[in-house]
């Protein structure tokens, strides 16, 4: 999940009796699956929560380009390099769709980026892990994009129109990402013993961080309850995580790779896999900024933004000058 632990700013979820007339009619429309559009009235907390959630999602797409960019110049073939560049370009595009969706809520793009750079806005914990070998590119596509799809498919039905429409577009493209990742894993798992060992190493390192992407268990979270009532969260973190495990374990078996969890076993009674405890201390440390790559990721983003500032200014000055010249020519004629 690219948006983790989104704060709704509420202390408790209110029932219809405690809502104002406007809030009641808003909730009634959400309950009836009517989409909320930018100019419609919406509670301030709904608007703010969506800005937080969508921008966290957008920042994740953009920061997510960095770990993969690390391997563009070292891709093992021209074909793999072209595919990787296309995938990274998609991630940039996804970030742009999502920033646009957030902007319909009355925030500016520059403000969102400034919040990320100031450490006030988060991005997914997963992108703070390093890509150490080529198989990591396979593992990211297969596991990280797989987990993202799991989260994003339900969001295509979320209550906010521009967000739902961005999600539909993203989901259409995301499936390519997951398959190209699995394709890399297949090639390596069927390769030399050394290549297979690299694939296993990548799975060992990415498995648990991928499960953490869905966020901590949210059964008791007031924010999750509020987001569910607003239909901007459609399934619980644990439900999504279970679906991901159930879908991914057979895929690992096909590759002949071992999922690094001694407690993992099929539970026929539940019809699901049971899996071991997740090290949530690690997750919270990464969120706090203490993951293996947090500082490096932010430093790279800020540098790219600052290095590009003169280009943005020049392009705008050029456009203004041409517009002024056109106006002057029209007046003279």
């Amino acid at each position: 999940m690219y948006a983790q632990m989104v704060d709704t700013g509420v202390r408790q979820v209110r029932g219809a009796a405690e809502m104002t007339a406007e809030e009641r009619s808003f909730q009634a429309r959400i309950d009836a699956d009517v989409k909320v559009e930018p100019k419609d009235w919406m509670p301030e907390a709904y608007r703010r929560t969506l800005i937080r959630q969508i921008q966290q999602h957008a920042h994740s797409e953009i920061v997510g380009m960095l770990p993969e960019g690390n391997w563009v110049t070292r891709a093992p073939s021209l074909k793999r390099k072209a595919i990787l560049m296309a995938k990274i370009q998609d991630e940039g595009g996804h970030g742009l769709y999502l920033y646009s969706a957030a902007e319909t809520l009355g925030v500016s793009r520059d403000d969102l980026i400034a919040e990320l750079h100031a450490g006030k806005a988060r991005y997914s914990s997963i992108f703070n892990y390093p890509t150490l070998n080529w198989a990591d590119i396979g593992a990211i596509g297969w596991l990280v994009d797989g987990a993202a799809i799991m989260n994003q498919i339900p969001l295509c039905r979320c209550s906010y129109g521009p967000y739902a429409r961005a999600m539909i577009r993203i989901c259409k493209e995301e499936s390519f990402h997951q398959r190209q990742g699995y394709d890399i894993m297949m090639a390596m798992a069927r390769g030399t013993a050394e290549q297979k060992a690299m694939a296993q190493d990548a799975l060992d390192r990415w498995w648990w961080p991928s499960l953490m992407m869905f966020g901590p268990p949210d059964a008791d979270s007031v924010h999750s309850a509020q987001s569910t009532q607003w239909k901007i969260k459609l399934l619980s973190n644990d439900e999504l995580r279970q679906r991901f495990v159930d879908q991914t374990v057979p895929q690992a078996e096909y590759l002949g790779l071992a999922v690094p969890d001694p407690d993992l076993k099929w539970n026929a009674e539940r019809g699901h896999y049971d899996f071991g405890a997740i090290a949530w201390e690690e997750f919270y440390e990464v969120l706090k900024g203490n993951g293996p790559c947090n500082r490096e990721r932010m430093k790279t983003r800020v540098k790219a933004w600052e290095d590009g500032a003169w280009v943005r200014e020049v392009a705008m000055a050029h456009a203004r000058k041409r517009a002024a010249r056109a106006t002057a020519a029209a007046t003279a004629a």
Partner: protein, 94 residues
């Protein structure tokens, strides 16, 4: 000095013969760059054969409050649909 590029709405014609359809928005300094950026953001998979870029600030939109006044009058005019007029089975080609 920080200057945010203006916002543009992008419309894409997906195949010859179909109307342009709203695809999304993006930031660009001018119309030429808006179209170039739209090519990269919205047509990476052959989605289009033609792009329109319109400054978001130039779009006028109806407001949600006017919804009933604008669209409700059409509700009572069901006779505008051909299915309002049942035709006997014996009558063909109509």
């Amino acid at each position: 000095m920080t200057t945010e590029w203006p916002l543009w709405e992008i419309f894409i014609r997906s195949q010859h013969g179909l109307a342009h359809k709203h695809a999304g928005s993006l930031h660009a300094p001018d119309a030429e760059m808006a179209i170039k950026n739209a090519r990269d953001v919205y047509t990476r998979r052959n989605e289009g054969v033609s792009i329109w870029a319109v400054r978001s600030a130039d779009i006028s939109a109806s407001s949600p409050g006017e919804r009933d006044a604008l669209f409700e009058p059409a509700n009572s005019k069901v006779y505008r649909h051909p299915t309002f007029f049942p035709m006997p089975d014996e009558v063909k080609n109509i």
